[in-house]
């Protein structure tokens, strides 16, 4: 359970998130909203990459303020641009990076990397330089690099935005198959249509918090009366 208690976030004097309180328990939670509405900032709060200006975030009871490292073990994070999250030059090495940080031995790393690379159809690319992969393969590799650490929750910030249709479908399937609780920021309304809960962000506040149909209807309505 992720508990968000009266959270506000400022950048300098600008209020980016305003007094948000939520309890996230569902298996599939989507965050939608217009550009600059604070979705990415909110997502980064969930694993303690950023700390709120006021209020608290508790992940299974751990406060991101003082338990950042433990929280990041529980909450994996996949970014929009796979190019910026693949940190090793070779595919297999990159999957091993998080495991190394968790203290796994070389043999254990190889074993786990093999399993996850197989799962995402990347095994045949294990020795390739990561920069030659296609966009979809890179995003799958980024997801694999996070999932191999077996986090309890996964936050994905616009994981399909940069991808073409084929790659988008591939990544969408990977997200659907995640055993974890997933919190997905997306402009891809098809992706989130069968989620359990959709949060609509607007100017740093939550405009709607509902099942997909109702929430997306509110979102579309709100975007029309400008």
């Amino acid at each position: 359970m992720i508990d968000i208690q009266n959270v506000s976030l400022f950048f300098e004097a600008r209020e980016v998130l305003r007094d948000i309180s939520l309890t996230l328990t569902e298996r599939r939670i989507a965050i939608v909203g217009s550009n600059g509405s604070g979705k990415s900032s909110f997502a980064r709060l969930l694993n303690g990459l950023r700390l709120p200006t006021s209020g608290d975030i508790l992940v299974d009871g751990l406060n991101t303020r003082d338990k950042g490292r433990e929280v990041r073990r529980k909450v994996g994070f996949v970014f929009q641009n796979p190019d910026n999250q693949i940190v090793f030059p070779i595919v297999e090495e990159d999957v091993g990076f998080g495991l190394k940080n968790l203290g796994f031995s070389a043999a254990e790393r190889a074993e786990k990397a093999k399993e996850v690379l197989r799962r995402y159809g990347l095994w045949h690319l294990r020795d390739q330089p990561s920069h030659v992969l296609s966009g979809g393969q890179k995003q799958l590799l980024a997801i694999a690099g996070v999932l191999v650490m077996e986090p309890r929750y996964v936050v994905l910030d616009e994981p399909t935005t940069l991808l073409d249709l084929r790659n988008k479908i591939q990544v969408r399937k990977a997200i659907e198959a995640l055993p974890q609780t997933a919190i997905v920021v997306s402009h891809d309304l098809d992706l989130v249509a069968d989620f359990d809960r959709v949060l609509v962000f607007d100017q740093g506040r939550i405009l709607a918090d509902d099942a997909p149909n109702a929430a997306l209807r509110r979102y579309v309505e709100a975007m029309q009366d400008v």
Binding site: F79, N84, V87, F88, P89, F97, P129
Partner: protein, 195 residues
């Protein structure tokens, strides 16, 4: 360096990276310490034999020095003016041999193994050096050279369509901004994976 690893099963591929790095350091030192052209020629010959031993075509050895031939040209000219052509040849022979040896290391060692080798080598210094950080920095460098060159290429093309390709500032500013944004995101991604 990032793309250069050639998969293989030769004794050189199997040798521990730490030993290879040490051998390279020793050979490089000897190359410049022993002031005799026969020794340098011998080492060049040995280097070429090692390429064959690693099942690499000799063209790969040539590839190591081809990009810096113009530097060799400058060195040769300088030596010609200030010393003699013999010394010019000798200096270039030393540098070429060193580059080929260094290339042999990268051609037969995966970057991850190299990094582990460096980490292991620096282990005794872990109290005075941030060893894990150094090795991460090396991997990141290897990883992001192709990304950065892609950024430069993208920006150059974008500026070209606006007729700004000769304007260094129009090229530098977007490259720097994108690089800073990229590096912030990379830092987040590294944190997010428990580093």
């Amino acid at each position: 360096m990032f793309d250069l690893y050639c998969d293989g099963h030769s004794p050189l591929h199997r040798m521990k990276p730490g030993w290879k790095i040490l051998a390279l350091a020793a050979a490089g030192t000897a190359l410049f310490a022993v002031d005799h052209v026969v020794f340098s020629l011998g080492l060049l010959g040995l280097t070429l034999v090692l390429y064959r031993l690693a099942q690499l075509p000799l063209r790969r050895a040539w590839d190591q020095i081809r990009p810096v031939l113009w530097v060799f040209g400058l060195i040769f000219l300088a030596q010609l003016v200030f010393n003699s052509w013999q010394i010019g040849v000798f200096v270039i022979l030393r540098f070429a041999t060193l580059l080929m040896l260094a290339g042999l290391l990268t051609l037969t060692t995966r970057s991850s193994d190299m990094i582990e080798g460096i980490e292991a080598g620096l282990h005794p210094l872990r109290r005075v050096l941030p060893v894990a950080r150094i090795s991460l920095a090396i991997s990141l460098t290897l990883r992001f050279i192709p990304v950065l060159s892609q950024v430069v290429q993208d920006v150059r093309e974008a500026q070209k369509t606006r007729g700004l390709e000769r304007n260094l500032i129009a090229l530098a500013i977007p490259v720097v901004i994108r690089t800073i944004q990229t590096s912030e995101e990379i830092a987040d991604a590294i944190d997010a994976r428990g580093y």
